[in-house]
Subunit: 300 residues, 2 copies
Amino acid sequence: MTSEKQIRTIGWIGTGVMGASMAAHLLDAGYSLRLYTRTRARAEPLLERGATWAESPAEAADGTDATIAIVGYPSDVRETFLGDRGVLRAGRPPELAIDMTTSEPSLAVEIAAALKPRGIGSIDAPVSGGDIGARNAALSIMVGGAAGDVERAMPILRTLGTTIRHQGGPGAGQHTKMVNQILIATTMIGVCEGLIYAQRARLDPLKVIESVSTGAAGSWSISNLGPRMVARDFEPGFYVEHFIKDLGIALEEAGRMGLDLPGLQLGYSLYEAVREAGHDRKGTQALLLALEELTLAERS
Amino acid sequence: MTSEKQIRTIGWIGTGVMGASMAAHLLDAGYSLRLYTRTRARAEPLLERGATWAESPAEAADGTDATIAIVGYPSDVRETFLGDRGVLRAGRPPELAIDMTTSEPSLAVEIAAALKPRGIGSIDAPVSGGDIGARNAALSIMVGGAAGDVERAMPILRTLGTTIRHQGGPGAGQHTKMVNQILIATTMIGVCEGLIYAQRARLDPLKVIESVSTGAAGSWSISNLGPRMVARDFEPGFYVEHFIKDLGIALEEAGRMGLDLPGLQLGYSLYEAVREAGHDRKGTQALLLALEELTLAERS
């Protein structure tokens, strides 16, 4: 890979909570950024720090060494890479396209196949670690793609995360992220039910968290989101609506592979109840609200 | 509490995987142990190290400063403390009785009430951390009881664990342990489903564990039991049959409090399937076997 030229200019698409922090780290590391995002106002802080503005994904990608997207839904990913004004249509295509959105494994495969004839290497690299991980450049990055492309992307990825694993060919990063979301969904059910039980048993929930978080019941969720639930703080670290999107993809992929996963199914239906109760723009810890309502419904 | 005499002699009842390690720590710390367990052979290593043998819980408790039990089922706990040859019938009753079995909160309340008229203080102090935690004296101990009794027990508890929290009156330790088991049950569902998904998606499950265990999906279960499942190692750290006992208590208590907990219910029914498949003497990670069979059933 030493014959490849070093990546210096990056097209960056998407400046949500995660994307804005991540793009800032690349600026700090000395990369030139060409930026596109749907709502220009959200790009301003990065433009003030030296990023240049582009009017479309194609223009953001034009003439860059690598182009990275972290957007919302699979439909946005499709538009960003394969749409009329997408990365594929860049006048001078980038050598490398990286999708860090959590999206469909099959779409990652499709994008890799579509970009290859234009000489664009493609990797899927969704992340875990939330707003805090993005801010601290401490993300876990799950990578799918051809080995050469992954190797070329490594300096960029190391600027954004601490745990970076190449999981296999195109789509393998997305599949790994699905495993990640399955784990979170089921763990969150237990965290909510445990706290509801604790409250009903008239225990002090924060003291209970101290007892249970250090042993075999310990998890990131109980340690980090448990106290927020106790404080009735449902501000988003990670939006319910995005989590439902992820769980929907996981369910669809599991079904496609002939898998019936009852825990994932339960998690999905409970988060649907959270959305139906109007909490889709709250954080994933708002699952507590749905489970509390379920309990009340049972009692009335 | 400085007027209370220091605890020097301890009655110890139960030398299972956990109990044997814990009793050994007390011997190491210089306590005199008077030992009873159902199968005398299992007590031999401790007797060789200086513990003395008793023919019943009553005899083990007789003339000791404190008597501790860690046995199997709530029926064993009842027999140990309230039975014809139980702690309550000791000729010279101990000042303090400590139940470290995971058992029913309501039974802890009943025992405390029954022992009090004989001048025996009583606390419930179930533990989390498994065989490894017991061996390393690194248990989390969840304590219920009157403040004075808990304070008297602290030097003993500190010999056995690192996280010791007084959660409330009699039964509060058991309630906290129920929260602990609810967390484990739901987390384990996700660990199994995640690994099944990973395998079906043709990922390397150990590499997936590396990616998912450090971020928001992280848990003790995925880090410690995930690799054992991948290695098809179902040796017990904690027995399926004991875990089902615990989840049954949790379900009953939740029902009594008017709570419907779907994650706990799912965990219980899946672990029932593990038992029905004949894996009750395997470790809790054998949940994977039940979920794999469920998947196969769906496909056939």
